[in-house]
Subunit: 424 residues, 2 copies
């Protein structure tokens, strides 16, 4: 295994993005953190900025700070995100959670054309989106249905399989751009082409792709999108999500989840709602300012690094991990739960093992000079490893695999129970 250590050192020396690691302080030397696909680490600048802003803006400015930046913050952050997802500056806003934003868009699409009764999705999509669809459709009457496409192998789902499912009755096709479990990367451009040929709209959940790879929503023809800011965007636990609506579609979308912060004149207090101009209409209530503010430094880091170099490094990290998997993990009973080809994969990899849950628990424990290795576990047997290119070193991957091998070879995982929480 030694030769992988040497190779890792060499690749780290050639890594043009290596300098970004220090933006996260020293914690990444104390923990080998392979869960940036679930919760990104804290940028040092975020800590300092938050303390300053809480002190100055809430502490000193109090209510007056609404006119000095808070009111514009959801749109200002949207403008900053736009180039990272290939959107126009006026097509994005930050607010609420991914699922609430998903509901806003689905509810709008349902009302837009009551004659289209079908919504198409696939079983690789994040289940919160299923729950949102079910909840909204239950109340909408009208014989609406959700069609779930099944991935043949539970890992991939080629765009061609959407062809028969999308009919003239289809209002919406909705997928996770990168599947939360397998990491499969949907070909959004191909899905849009198929959907649009039948007059259906496409809504993409970018939670597991945004910040990890270049996204070209407008170029691909994506109509609607939502996404998460606490994974590769490093925006902090539960940080508000974002909504994207293709500009030409905005005026066609009836608003359903309507609240005062999204109306044309929030302080006019009229009895009836008229939508604000532009994306502001997707606000509902007052946005959580502290959690919103924490998003900005992470966006700045990504803009500085650039998504093309980040993607290149993420692929290198993943390919390096796969080499080690073939040499060291496969012989120990691991199988690959992700696409083999990097073109069909996002930035995380799942490895399946009957003892994945207990191996995951053993990895998190620090042990004799080996720092904790933090992966996550996804039922039933997936050890999910995130290759966040902004701060991970090749040597981190090397040490993580070394640790997994030691845990399985020594059967150290047997000291851990099968029970307990799985929130990692």
């Amino acid at each position: 295994m030694q030769e992988y250590g040497t190779k890792a050192r060499e690749m780290d020396e050639q890594d043009a993005l290596a300098g970004f690691r220090k933006a996260f302080g020293t914690v990444l030397d104390e923990v080998i953190y392979l869960d940036g696909n679930s919760l990104g680490p804290l940028p040092r600048k975020t800590l300092l900025m938050l303390d300053h802003k809480v002190r100055e803006e809430w502490g000193q400015g109090m209510i007056r700070s609404w006119n000095k930046g808070w009111f514009d913050l959801p749109l200002r952050l949207g403008r900053k995100l736009a180039p990272l997802i290939g959107a126009g500056e006026d097509e994005v806003i930050f607010c609420d959670s991914v699922t609430v934003n998903f509901m806003k868009l689905v509810a709008a699409v349902i009302q837009r054309d009551p004659h289209r009764t079908r919504i198409v999705t696939d079983d690789l999509n994040f289940p919160s989106n299923f729950y949102a669809l079910d909840g909204l459709l239950k109340g909408s009457g009208n014989g609406r249905e959700v069609l779930y496409l099944e991935s043949p192998d539970g890992i991939e789902l080629p765009a061609d399989l959407f062809r028969d499912a999308i009919t003239q009755d289809t209002a919406l096709v909705t997928v996770s751009h990168v599947a939360f479990k397998s990491g499969y990367l949907h070909d959004l451009e191909a899905i849009c082409e198929i959907a649009h040929s039948k007059g259906a709209l496409v809504l993409a959940d970018l939670s597991h792709s945004v910040g990890a790879l270049p996204i070209h929503l407008n170029e691909w023809g994506v109509d609607l999108a939502v996404g998460c800011s606490y994974k590769y965007l490093n925006g902090g636990p539960g940080a508000p999500a974002f909504v994207f609506v293709r500009k030409e579609l905005l005026e066609e979308l009836p608003q359903v989840l309507t609240g005062w912060m999204g109306c044309a004149d929030p302080f006019g207090f009229s009895r009836t709602y008229s939508p604000a101009a532009g994306m502001r209409r997707f606000l509902v209530g007052t946005p959580p300012i502290l959690s919103l503010q924490a998003i900005e430094p992470g966006l700045d880091l990504l803009l500085e690094a650039g998504l093309e170099p980040l993607r290149r490094k993420a692929v290198q990290l993943s390919e390096f991990l796969l080499e080690m998997y073939e040499d060291w993990l496969q012989p120990l009973g691991f199988t690959l739960g992700s696409p083999l080809s990097p073109e069909r994969r996002g930035s995380h990899l799942s490895f399946r093992h009957p003892e994945a849950y207990r191996i995951n628990k053993a990895m998190i424990e620090p042990r004799n000079g080996v720092p904790p290795v933090v992966p996550d576990f996804r039922k039933p047997d997936n050890l999910r490893l995130g290759m966040a290119p902004l701060y991970l070193r090749f040597h981190d991957i090397y040490r993580a695999v070394q640790r997994v091998v030691a845990i399985v070879e020594s059967r150290e995982f047997e000291y851990f129970s099968h029970d307990g929480p799985t929130v990692t």
Copy 2:
């Protein structure tokens, strides 16, 4: 006017709650802050706690902090709030915004009994609730309607007026406990009695009452409630709101806005949703942890001070303000836009004046040793003054009125324009 200054000093000396002011640092000596009913000031402890928690929990713990407090936080804060609203410990949760929470409850009530097609509210209610109702009903088909009761004077709306409006067709009666503009305090117990006699449920928006006066939801028979944590709870700008559901009602309420954080096993990732036990089912997406954490120190302060003493002081502050109003403001053209009797009033007072907008602007400007006085303005002509009892001094009220008198007598407000933002 001098005698009011002397009286204010005397009342401040007798104020048993005076010590709580220092929990907010020195800013309240630099600004006379009469807008705690819109955004409460920053408790010093919140600043220190947030910095510590961001550093330790996000910075060091990263994803592992979900199992060390974050996952339980929405319910833990709910248990803390419960005694302040007369709820059981298992009847409250913090999440999302007031309006999104209002939507969850209204959507559930609509589905619960499709034969009840009427929702009754009144024109003193906060307009975001109107927008939420309109949006949800537009999509629900079924000939549902919202009946808006009109306040005879735009200030008060006695519970008796609900009697004719609530029929056997009524699913829900919903009011703002304290009206955002006039400060009218609804008699929730009386409204519940009328509504329940026809089988309708009552949903109260506590945004302008919570933390300012004792609330006894269970004693009064209130079925459902939502409320805001950034006003008298001092939870920070846009801090997450809360949801209350009377325990016996929980299992009868179908969930409509369903997301993964509210399902029985969020990490089971099953295709279909089953609600979590208890109030956790009202979570949708991942809650914004930083903004949630900021809520706790403010709750602790209120629990320590006690709502009965706080309410007594708030009434004293308001009555003192009304005395000065009669002597000094009425002669300058102000009229009272709030109920005269303290029993029918929350903790803020509105004063109407044709030049209220420009007077409000002049007050906010610091001037020759007089600190800025921060009220807020509500269209068309309301100067709204919040009497937050936790930190205001009688002398603050005295100085504020003195400043208003100076502005109107000298016509200083004429130097300010009629335009500009009204977000205060």
